[in-house]
Amino acid sequence: MTSSFKSIEENLKAEAGKLLESGRVEIVLAYGRGYDENHPMPFVAKHPSDVANMVFNEYCIHNLARYLVRYPRGTKIAVAVKAADCRAVIQLIQEEKIKRDDVVFLGIPVYGMKNPKTGEIIDSKTTCGMYNPVLYDVLLGEEVHGQKIVSPYDVLADYEAMDKEARWAFWKKEFDRCIRCYACRKACPMCYCDPCFIDQSKPRWGDKSPQSHGNLMYHLTRFHHLAGRCIDCGECSRACPVDIPLYLFHKKVAKECEEMFGQAAGMSIDDKPALVNFRVDDSDKILE
C-alpha cells in the first residue's frame, strides 16, 4: 500500500472539510461508520462538522456514484471515488446525467479492498482491477505503482471454457435462485431508469413472481441494457443476498465491447458510450 487506509481517511476528512467550508460543494459523498468496523456505510456530509464521522478502510467497497443521480441537477457534489467508481462518474457524465462542473472527484488510489461477507480481496476478481482513479480533482493518497496488474477478464477463464449449452444451463441455474429483491439494479450506478422496465405494467415485460422465465427476462434485459456501460465495479454481485455471480456476464460483455469498439466504459469524459456512438469503422462482428 502506497498510502495507508488511515492516511486516506485523514486526507478525506481534511479535503471534505475544506470543500464544505469554502462552499465549493453542498454535499460530500463518502464513507461513514456503520454498526461495526467491518461494515462502514455510504455517508453524506453537509456541514463541515459532519466530516468527523467519515471513515475509510478496506471494507469501504460501495460505489458512491450510485447516489449522484438522486440529487437535483446542478447540485454541487464532491464524491469519494476508487478506480471503478471514478469510471462510473465519468460514464454518467458521458450519458449527460450529471455535469462535469458539478462534481468534484476525490480520487482514492487503493488496492486490497475486501468483501465484508467473505473477507476475500476483490481487486480484479469482481471489480475492474485498476488501482488509480482515471480522473480526479484531488487525490487522497499517493498513486499506486509497482503493484501487479491483473486483467479484470482473467476470472472469465472457466466461464469462457463453457460451450453455449453449458452457459445457458449455468445462467438458468443461477437465475432460478434469484429472489427478485432488485438489490443488483439498485446498487448499480448505471441503473437509473425510472421506472425500470421490469416495474412497468403497460406493457408488462416480465412476471413479478420469482420463476425462471421472469427472472431470465429481468436479468438478461438488464445485462444488455448495461452493455458498453458497465464499469465493472462489481456492486451488483456483492449486493446480491444469494450470491449470484452477475459480474461474470457483465465482464464478458465488457470484454467483447472492448474488443469490438476499442473502448472501455467510463475511461474518458470525451468518449461517447460505445453503443450510442456510430462510427463507420465500427466492428460488424455482432452481425456475423
Binding site: D207, S209, Q211
Partner: protein, 351 residues
C-alpha cells in the same frame, strides 16, 4: 419428555420424518443456509448459525397460487388451487424466528380476517425449535435480546432441541410435540444428567448477550410518532438506503404481498407474490400518483410499521432482532442503530 440422539444420526431421524410427511430443514447452499424441502436425508445440516431467508416462507411462500383460469372463458371455469398438505416438519428453527410466527399469526389470523393458506400451513406444521450455540459469539448484527428473546427460549416450538456435545436433546413443549416424540422410536431416553443440562442451557440462554437497548414498546411508539414528521432525521438515516427489497425479503415479520395475474398465452394464474414497501411501485396508485416517492418515506414506513404502528394496533413490536436485514443490507443500514438513535440520541435537536 426428553429424548436424544447422536448428531451424526440426524439423517436417520430425517428419513423417518420424510416418511411421515414433508421435512423442511436447513440446507447448505452457495451463499449460505436456507430452509428447503428435503429430498435426500443427508442434506439436513445443523452446522448453521441462521438461514439467509427466514422460515416464514414455510407458511407464507414467496409465491402462492390461488386460482388457475383461461382467458376468454367464463369465470365459472376458473379453478381455485386447493392446498392438500401432508404433515410438515419444520426442523431447526432459531428461537427468535419461532417468536416471529406468533407475530405473523396476528396479521394472518388474529385480527378477524383469517388467511386460509397461512392457517392451513400453520396447522399442518410441527416446529422443531433449536437453541443457538451458546459457546459461539452472537452475530454482530443480531439484537434479539433487545426484544426480550433468549438464545434458547423453547416457547412457540412444539419440540425444542439443544445440542450437548455429540448429542441432540429433544424436549416436547406442546401436546402435538409430545405425540410426535413418542412416535419417533429411534430416539433414546435421556438421562437425569441430560435433563439438568437441558434446563441449565435454557436458563443460560437468557444471559447470552446480543446487542441490547432498553426498549419499552409504548415509549418507543410515542418516540417514533414524535419524529414522524422530522424529515431531517429520516433523510439522515436513509442517505445510504438503495431502496431495494433485501431487508423485507429476508425479514421474518414482513408480510406485504401483491396479487398478480400472470398469463402465458391464454393460461393464467392468480397468485400472491411477496412485495416490499421499499419498492418505488409499492404505493403507486392507478392514477399515476405515488404518495411515497422518496427513499426516506419508504424507509420510515418500514421502521415505523414495525416499531410504532404495530405497537399501537396490536401491542407488539413487529421485529424479533434476528439481524437479517442488517446482515444482508448491501450498504449496511442497521435498524437497531436507527431505533437506538430515535430512542436516546435526539440528535435532531441540534439542527
Amino acid at each position: 419428555m426428553l429424548k436424544k440422539t447422536a448428531i451424526n444420526k440426524i439423517s436417520e431421524l430425517a428419513a423417518v420424518l420424510m416418511e411421515k410427511g414433508t421435512l423442511l430443514a436447513p440446507v447448505k447452499e452457495a451463499a449460505g443456509f436456507n430452509f428447503r424441502e428435503i429430498s435426500d436425508a443427508g442434506q439436513v445440516n445443523l452446522h448453521f448459525h441462521n438461514t439467509i431467508i427466514s422460515p416464514k416462507s414455510a407458511f407464507f411462500p414467496q409465491m402462492e397460487d390461488f386460482v388457475r383460469y383461461q382467458t376468454g372463458k367464463s369465470i365459472l371455469e376458473a379453478a381455485p388451487v386447493e392446498l392438500n398438505l401432508k404433515p410438515v416438519f419444520l426442523f431447526g428453527v432459531r428461537p427468535c424466528d419461532v417468536k416471529s410466527f406468533e407475530i405473523m399469526d396476528i396479521h394472518f389470523s388474529g385480527t378477524g380476517a383469517v388467511d386460509p393458506y397461512w392457517k392451513k400451513r400453520r396447522e399442518a406444521a410441527t416446529i422443531f425449535g433449536h437453541a443457538f450455540d451458546l459457546n459461539e459469539a452472537a452475530d454482530p448484527a443480531e439484537f434479539y435480546h433487545t426484544l426480550g428473546i433468549g438464545a434458547a427460549d423453547p416457547q412457540g416450538s412444539d419440540i425444542f432441541m439443544v445440542t450437548k456435545d455429540n448429542d441432540l436433546l429433544f424436549k416436547s413443549i406442546t401436546p402435538k410435540g409430545k405425540k410426535l416424540l413418542e412416535e419417533l422410536t429411534m430416539l433414546t431416553e435421556a438421562s437425569a444428567g441430560d435433563r439438568k443440562y437441558f434446563e441449565d442451557y435454557i436458563a443460560r440462554g437468557h444471559d447470552y448477550k446480543t446487542r441490547f437497548a432498553s426498549v419499552e414498546p409504548k415509549a418507543i411508539a410515542t418516540e417514533f410518532e414524535s419524529i414522524f414528521d422530522n424529515r431531517e432525521f429520516w433523510k439522515n438515516v436513509s442517505n445510504a438506503c438503495l431502496s431495494c427489497g433485501v431487508c423485507t425479503f429476508v425479514c421474518p415479520t414482513c408480510y406485504c404481498f401483491d396479487i398478480c395475474d400472470e398469463t402465458l398465452f391464454n393460461k393464467g394464474t392468480r397468485r400472491r407474490v411477496w412485495d416490499a414497501c421499499m419498492f418505488t411501485d409499492f404505493t403507486l396508485e392507478a392514477s399515476g400518483h405515488n404518495p411515497r416517492t422518496n427513499v426516506y418515506q419508504r424507509l420510515r414506513q418500514k421502521i415505523c410499521h414495525k416499531y410504532s404502528f404495530s405497537i399501537r394496533k396490536y401491542g407488539v413490536i413487529s421485529c424479533v432482532g434476528c439481524g437479517r436485514c442488517t446482515r444482508y443490507c448491501p450498504v449496511n443500514i442497521d435498524i437497531f442503530s436507527i431505533v437506538e438513535q430515535a430512542v436516546k440520541a435526539k440528535w435532531y435537536k441540534r439542527l
